[in-house]
């Protein structure tokens, strides 16, 4: 059990640091996981040098989806947007520190998908963004 619902995840789920909505913002995107109705919205502010000045996520869903969103936002603040574009599936899994089956993987990666669709300025998110 310990490997799976590590205290870290329960912690970020119950006490997220970056839950909220930035208004005004420079980047805004949201999407669902159709499987379970998980929903993630991401808002970011970008500074003059192209770095993420601040970020928030909002949404609802399982502990994995919400905790990974919180961990992800935490990890990108202060980073160049160009670096955010390069984030991979593995980066999120490293943040979570657990192994996941294919279904829960979608929960874990929803925030990444939303984030990358946002920073790329796409009208739609896509599985290709998290490969």
């Amino acid at each position: 059990m310990d490997d799976l619902y590590r205290e870290l995840i329960i912690d970020h789920y119950k006490n997220p640091q970056f839950r909220g909505h930035l208004d005004p913002n420079d980047i805004h995107f949201e999407d669902d996981n159709p499987l379970c109705g998980d929903h993630i919205e991401v808002t970011l502010r970008v500074d003059g040098s192209g770095k993420v000045a601040d970020g928030r996520f909002d949404g609802k869903g399982c502990a994995i989806s919400q905790a990974s969103a919180d961990l992800l936002i935490e990890s990108i603040i202060g980073k160049p947007v160009e670096d955010v574009k390069k984030l991979s599936k593995q980066d999120v899994l490293d943040l979570l520190g657990i192994e996941l089956g294919p279904v829960r993987l979608k929960c874990a990666l929803l925030s990444l998908k939303v984030l990358k669709a946002g920073v790329y300025g796409l009208g739609e998110s896509s599985e290709a963004l998290i490969e």
Partner: protein, 408 residues
């Protein structure tokens, strides 16, 4: 007659699997798909090892044996739901295809813009999306029998909807989320009185309850083998004889034709008219064996066993603080218990239970509109079948207490 569950479990090889070393499987996901008893697996295996050939067109011994076995399976399935004749059973891939077949053939030949179809708010996507597609394409109107807070169909509203001359009433025999057993005989009687054709999504009712199409009077009935101890890859559509005779074909190809010329063809007789190309032959044999197995148990006994186990499950679940079970009381439902646990997403419940080998499902169970109606996005669902034991309900309940501890 009651089921000797401990004995029959020995027929299901997967039930002695350990999910992880030392953790036996507690399979509470039969509404999604059932496990398969040895006789079903053996029937298919024996077919491939002894009789395998393509059917209907062959003169050689194997082809004749395979054809006879395929058609015998059709007979068995027909008898299982008391169809007047075997040619009223069309083999499809699954209940979903059965419903789409009706939408693409009967409905597209008979419905036009402004015509009304009555569905219910508790339908599975399989009995919803084909009609949404038709509505979008043709301007047909969809109307919905509401679900009451305790998970029943509001028949008063249904009666009102019927006054507007619907052409079709399409409703599930049993909800895969609420477990509600709908009063099909009455729904059909009222529909017919209003001049509507009826389609019953029997994906859950046929595996779990005695179903007699003649007694119910249904015009179309759709179901899947994989939910009733049979293999994946095969389902069935029952249809009223005159409707099947008159409907245009669905897919074109081998076997569904009498004659083909370069620019014209004549369709075959029913049921072949609706079975284009090489069908799921071994799967039909397995479907037949599954029906034999259920007949041996007796569908009354199957229903009684599930009733008993869901009754126990509801009692135990409702005693857990924070658990909310959806759907009617046990006397009105089949072996399904969908629930939420305050503060914990169903996905997390399912995943934590899985660590102890308890397999339940979490999500919208292909009934998103129903979940919307209840203001939720997902439920956790435990579901039961002939092989389910009260101890498995206990394992579920213990697991839920563990979840509560973790999310504390």
């Amino acid at each position: 007659m009651t089921l000797d569950v401990n004995l029959l479990r020995q027929d299901f090889p997967i039930l002695s699997r350990e999910v992880r070393p030392g953790i036996p499987l507690v399979y509470l996901d039969s509404t999604a798909t059932s496990q398969k008893p040895r006789p079903v697996l053996e029937a298919m295996e024996a077919f491939y090892r002894t009789n395998n050939a393509n059917i209907h067109r062959g003169v050689h011994t194997l082809a004749e044996e395979a054809t006879a076995m395929y058609e015998q399976a059709r007979e068995k399935v027909a008898q299982f739901i008391n169809a007047p004749s075997a040619e009223q059973i069309i083999f499809t891939r699954n209940a979903t295809e059965s419903i789409n077949l009706v939408a693409y053939t009967w409905a597209r030949a008979n419905l036009k813009a402004g015509d009304r179809i009555i569905l219910t708010e508790m339908e599975h996507h399989s009995n919803m999306v084909p009609w949404i597609m038709l509505a979008t394409e043709r301007g047909v109107e969809l109307e919905f029998i509401p679900v009451t807070p305790d998970g029943l169909l509001d028949l008063d509203v249904y009666r009102t909807l019927l006054t507007r001359s619907p052409k079709l009433v399409a409703v599930s025999g049993m909800s895969n989320v609420l477990g509600t057993i709908n009063p099909i005989a009455e729904i059909v009687r009222l529909a017919h009185a209003a001049g509507a054709i009826t389609l019953v999504d029997g994906a859950q009712s046929v595996p779990h309850l005695p179903v007699d199409v003649q007694a119910l009077g249904v015009d179309f009935l759709a179901f899947s083998a994989h939910k009733m101890l049979g293999p994946s890859g095969i389902g069935a559509l029952y249809g009223r004889h005159d409707l099947l005779e008159k409907m245009p074909p669905f897919m074109g190809g081998g076997d569904m034709i009498k004659t083909v010329h370069l620019r014209s063809f004549a369709p075959n007789d029913i049921p072949h008219k609706y079975e284009a190309g090489t069908p799921a032959i071994a799967e039909a044999v397995g479907f037949g064996a599954a029906v034999d197995y259920l007949n041996k148990l007796g569908m009354q006994a199957v229903a009684a066993h599930e009733h008993e186990i869901v009754n126990y499950a509801l009692d135990r679940l409702e005693e857990i603080p924070g658990v909310k079970v959806f759907g009617p009381t046990a006397d009105k439902k089949g072996g399904v218990a969908s629930f939420t646990l305050e503060g914990v997403h169903p996905h997390d419940i399912a995943q934590i239970l899985d660590r102890d080998g308890v397999a339940i499902r979490a999500g919208h169970h292909c009934a998103q509109p129903l979940h919307e109606k209840f203001g939720i996005t997902a439920t956790a669902r435990a579901s039961f079948y002939v092989y389910s034991l009260p101890q498995e309900v206990d394992a579920l309940v213990n697991g839920i207490y563990k979840v509560k501890e973790i999310f504390g």
